[in-house]
Symmetry: C2
Subunit: 368 residues, 2 copies
């Protein structure tokens, strides 16, 4: 590592020109086999690794796709802790589930996985950025300068910034509402999914007594879901406005608070429809603690399909978002845009799955 070797070093060592070295690496078939072997031997000998910067500069593309997340509260909590190795083991009664120490966002992780997978399959590297509240613009700019295209989750970026960077690279919006119609967009069927779930409760389980636990007011996903809920009720002649809406925050803790309130007020509905899984799990925590039987007394449903809903007891009925596919789709759309920059804006809408489990359907054999 004394000094990274360059094409020139390799060329000198192999007795060829730098052009030949470059060809051996980029278009091996254009080089005579014997020459190629000579060069490759030198590459190995010198530990040569091409500089992506130089390559990117010369080729006018970086070969990198970007993925930008908004910052979820959970991440910030990590900021403080210094790791301290004073003792290598500590035996403790379990730390309380703060919901923060263990970041709960399966959601992003899966989008990330999907993106990573698709990007590499298409021959691109992936760069990840998680927004810190303080200086989103700088980070976004930084990433934008490093990539050939960038996917942005929900509304993690102010419009002005988005507009600025979009003059350099294509932008794909993931989830969230459309923003203007100049960007490509990938989202899931939030309203249809919640609608289908609600309809199931209405038609198959004959539920009419609902309460809805909404997400944060500024969540477009949350809004779409609630809208789906309302439409389902409306289509069956029920008045959505007659159903109580409890405002949450998409956190487990918030779900607990809402449920606690309902219990205390003695206003438990037949079905508690939650805007996401975290809140539903929080509600389950409270109901279980109060001895309320789910689903016999109260049906609870979520949205997202996170893993924890699969191992909770009872297991959570929910709407599964194809989060991995969201990431994959975003990357594909981006590549398609790179290939043909002037095609009209693309908008992909991914299907969801309503998963019926014990929190709504009653006991099911879980011996699997």
């Amino acid at each position: 590592m004394a000094k990274a070797s360059t094409v020139y070093d390799v060329a000198g060592h192999a007795g060829v020109s730098i052009a030949t070295v470059s060809r051996v690496l980029r278009r091996p078939d254009d080089v005579r086999a014997s020459t190629r072997d000579k060069v490759l031997a030198s590459v190995a000998e010198l530990g040569y690794v091409p500089s992506a910067n130089a390559r990117g500069l010369a080729a006018r593309r970086t070969g990198v796709l970007g993925l930008y997340f908004p910052n979820l509260d959970a991440m910030e909590e990590l900021d403080d802790g210094e790791f301290d190795a004073s003792s290598l083991v500590e035996v403790v009664q379990d730390i309380p589930d703060s919901g923060l120490v263990r970041p709960p966002n399966l959601y992003f992780d899966e989008v990330l996985r999907g993106s990573e997978l698709e990007a590499w399959r298409q021959g691109f590297a992936l760069m990840v950025g998680v927004g810190r509240v303080a200086y989103p613009a700088d980070m976004v700019n930084d990433i934008a300068g490093r990539v050939d295209g960038m996917a942005v989750l929900a509304q993690s970026i102010p419009d002005s910034v988005l507009q600025h960077v979009s003059r350099r690279i294509p932008i794909v919006l993931i989830a969230g509402p459309r923003r203007g119609d100049s960007y490509d967009h990938v989202s899931v069927s939030n309203s249809e999914g919640m609608g289908a779930l609600t309809t199931h409760l209405l038609d198959s389980l004959a539920v009419t007594d609902f309460a809805y636990v909404a997400g944060p007011d500024d969540s477009p996903d949350g809004a779409e879901r609630y809208s789906g809920f309302r439409q389902a009720l409306h289509s069956r002649g029920l008045d959505p406005d007659a159903r109580p809406v409890l405002h949450g925050g998409f956190s487990r803790q918030r779900g607990r608070e809402v449920a606690t309130q309902l219990v205390n007020d003695g206003k438990l509905p037949r079905a508690l429809v939650c805007g996401n899984d975290q809140m539903a799990l929080g509600a389950l925590d409270v109901l279980r603690a109060h001895g309320v039987r789910v689903p016999d007394e109260v049906i609870v449903t979520g949205f997202d399909g996170i893993e924890a809903g699969q191992t909770s007891s009872p297991r959570l009925t929910t709407v599964r978002q194809p989060m991995v596919d969201l990431g994959r789709a975003a990357m594909r759309v981006m590549l398609s845009r790179l290939e043909d920059p002037k095609q009209p804006p693309i908008s992909v809408r991914l299907p969801v799955k309503v998963l019926l489990r014990e929190s709504s359907e009653g006991p099911v054999d879980s011996s699997s």
Copy 2:
């Protein structure tokens, strides 16, 4: 996006030289305020975003740190599915927990989070790569050419490749065993943690009848944990070799298989010590299905501290790895190495926490 503008465009637009533009962006204080404003106005006007490639080339550093994961079986499963939007909603009884459709690796996700956090805090971007079995060398090389330093998880890379790229950039190994003594290394106290947990079972719960469910043979973490288990027994005068060892694969399914076997053979031990949480959860599945009471009849323990162990019933006693800190520590070590390339190899060992929960301690109030 017609044609990304450059320093030259901005310089021309603002009526200054490119050097001044560059300075405005890099060292604003070296430029007169009035000039700076002029330039910034042009930057905004033109939608200028500096090319990280050019910058990196000129500055001889990329400002990016790399993180490379081995490929876990789970990822591959995603390869096939095309997303198909023929229907936007589908209502289904829950799909069986294949353990594949929902990638279970909280582990990597958290290391990633930690890395991402620390990298950005230090002013670096993060690039992620997940190894595909087919061509790890190419991917590693590719990343190595793009970053100032790379962290590698466990043994995801052949020694030869590692050696090659390490001539260009510093490498930090995360988890896994040391490899030679030329690389920096970050790991957790696997053996100490498992030792402490085992000792607790021995001393506080008076268990002597153990069975150990090991991980895959090629997992160094698994080996260290088993070693900690053995040492604990040995230190209490018990013979480790008298305790059955069941070989697993770190998957939930494997945990189920092992547990099923034990049940069928009527050889359930007092305590089932598992090499990771996934297997432990799989064992819980089976024990519950067979009506075996945990922890009254059988104590089950895991290792890792994944979230699912926190919501399982009973909640899982385990050893919590500071996975987020692993990532953070790796990045810090890397930066320290970049600052002073010739300091002796660093080896950081992070502490773990033994978390006592209901799968070993009996009923606990879980109303929280």
